[in-house]
């Protein structure tokens, strides 16, 4: 099976939010409240248990005029996924397409995946009790279809396909934009970090931090070794302190 991916080219996104709607419709995702955020035309806010696609509206001044940069965000489907490593029930698995998938019939809602996702994507649905996030339309991919968001995107801002081909296309697009004088575009695919790259890559203009994309996302398993070493050392010290206390103050080894 080929490793599939998303390439979201924000330079052609028109902020129509069709991806948000198509995702909700296909996956039967419930509404998650309605609130005026006052943050441009973004009243979705962020990814969550019931928002698996989210269009960001970044407002800025460019060439002396107000400019909008839209970017459709999604679960990154990390190469080394914190949620997948952390899941204690084995509910979170990697699919044959390389995506990260939460099996809803196994998840018991412990919530540990939520605090191990470096992108703040996963969350627990309060009225359901289980954790939810983008499934990468696993059902559609199995049937040979592209994910609903990519299918519906009217400007091909969301592209779906073979991950390596998409990476090539992103670099090509970067060169094309550069040739046209748009030099502030960058490709977000953190392959230099412990996340090891993502299966959803993005091309955005400006600084990635303006889109809440962490420049150095780290999978928390990187601290496991030092943390367990500390726990082992602390355990041995505990035993030692207790034995010594009873040797000195008690009657351990006394007849």
């Amino acid at each position: 099976m080929p490793t599939t991916g998303f390439f979201t080219d924000s330079t052609v996104c028109i902020g129509c939010k069709a991806c948000e709607v198509a995702c909700k419709e296909w996956n039967g995702v419930p509404h998650d409240g309605f609130a005026w955020t006052g943050q441009s035309y973004d009243n979705t806010g962020g990814l969550g248990h019931s928002t698996w696609r989210h269009v960001k509206f970044v407002e800025r001044v460019r060439d002396g005029a107000m400019a909008w940069d839209f970017s459709s965000d999604v679960c990154k489907h990390c190469e080394h996924a914190g949620c997948l490593e952390a899941c204690p029930t084995g509910a979170i698995v990697r699919t044959e397409f390389g995506g990260v998938f939460i099996q809803p019939d196994v998840c018991n809602g412990c919530g540990y995946c939520i605090v191990t996702c470096p992108f703040g994507v996963v969350d627990r649905r309060p009225d359901d009790g289980r954790a939810f996030k983008c499934t990468f339309c696993y059902d559609r991919q199995k049937a040979g279809l592209e994910p609903a968001c990519a299918k519906v995107c009217p400007t091909q801002s969301i592209q779906f396909g073979d991950l390596d081909a998409l990476r090539g296309r992103a670099e090509e697009r970067l060169r094309e934009l550069d040739a046209r004088g748009i030099t502030d575009a960058v490709v977000y695919d953190p392959r230099h970090t412990s996340v090891g790259g993502t299966h959803a890559i993005f091309l955005v203009r400006g600084n990635v931090t303006e889109y809440n994309l962490p420049p150095d996302p780290e999978v928390p398993t990187t601290v496991l070794r030092t943390a367990w070493h500390a726990a082992a050392l602390a355990s041995v010290s505990l035993l030692g302190v207790i034995v010594i206390a009873f040797l000195v103050g008690g009657s351990l080894l006394a007849p």
């Binding site: 029930t89 084995g90 018991n108 939520i114 602390a234 207790i242």
Partner: protein, 317 residues
């Protein structure tokens, strides 16, 4: 059309500038925020009160199991029995608290369908399972009182003591190996903090139920010294990541909890010859302080997740 549309664009910009100036003078201008409208980048833990309560009860029970084994080996059956009963009570409460915190409590057994060393939550579930089974065997064996029963009980005591050591320290790994900045930064310190805090709570609980062994007082002093030192290490540093440990409601809980389980019992225990009853007061402080620090660390994690700057600006480890 009338009104603003037929004004020249330059006029509009000038009006905007006047508005900005006016806002700045009144102090109403918005500060530039980090990230995307300053929205949180990370999701906070959804843990409710059950988890910090479990962290306290499980840790103290784990250390009680160790004290039980050592007391039994040092021919102190009275202390061993009290320690066993406290450990068993903790073993009975811990799974109840953990299961009720699940989104789907009926599926709690799914925790035991895999063993994943790379997941501290999975390792922890197995530690809890082993500890609870051993405590059940220990209590049942000793209740039976026959030679076979007592032998099984003693074997279970040994298993419970080993599992108890891990039960008291693994929560540090569980919280450290997350993306929550304040937990992640102190991944190396948290296991020691949980160990020291649990030790203080366990020794103090045994004193409060009527044991007066000097060994328990020594353990109380050791724990208080360690808690104080670790609090200095985590709380008082010029690192924005430590902020929720010293300010806001989580900081209040953290500082008071550290004071209650560190310096206050330390001074009281050292002044035991001057102040009558100081030992029991110290024990009560240590137990309350230990419980408070658990709630404080969980609350600090919630605050820490709200600040996108910690993730966007922090240099990679």
């Amino acid at each position: 059309m009338e009104g603003t549309t037929d004004r020249p664009p330059g006029d509009r910009e000038a009006r905007l500038d006047r508005l900005r100036e006016d806002a700045a003078q009144r102090g109403a201008a918005l500060e530039p925020v980090a990230g995307y409208y300053g929205r949180p980048l990370l999701k906070p833990a959804i843990w409710t009160w059950e988890v910090p309560a479990y962290l306290f009860i499980g840790g103290a029970a784990g250390i009680c199991a160790v004290i039980c084994l050592v007391a039994a080996l040092s021919a102190n059956p009275g202390l061993a029995r009290d320690a066993r009963h406290l450990a068993a009570t903790g073993a009975a409460l811990s799974p109840l608290l953990l299961i009720s915190d699940l989104g789907r409590p009926a599926r709690f057994l799914n925790m035991l369908r895999v063993f994943k060393p790379q997941s501290p939550m999975s390792v922890g579930a197995w530690i809890v399972a082993v500890f609870c089974t051993a405590e059940f065997g220990s209590v049942a064996g000793h209740l039976l009182g026959t030679f076979t029963g007592t032998t099984i009980g003693r074997m279970c005591d040994a298993v419970a003591a080993l599992a108890g050591l891990l039960l008291a320290t693994y929560p540090g790994v569980l919280m450290g190996a997350t993306v929550i900045p304040v937990w992640n930064r102190f991944a190396r310190v948290l296991p020691w903090h949980f160990a020291a805090s649990s030790l203080g709570a366990a020794a103090s609980m045994l004193e409060l139920v009527g044991n007066r062994e000097s060994a328990l007082n020594m353990l109380g002093i050791t724990a208080a010294v360690a808690v104080t030192a670790l609090a200095v290490l985590t709380d008082f540093r010029r690192d924005p990541v430590s902020k929720p440990l010293v300010s806001g409601s989580s900081g209040m809980m953290s500082v008071v909890g550290d004071a209650f389980s560190g310096p206050i019992p330390l001074v009281l225990r050292l002044a035991v010859s001057l102040v009558p009853g100081a030992r029991l007061i110290a024990a009560a402080f240590a137990v309350i302080g230990s419980l408070m620090t658990r709630f404080a660390w969980v609350a600090a994690g919630r605050e820490s997740a709200k600040d996108p700057e910690l993730v966007l600006r922090s240099p990679s480890r």
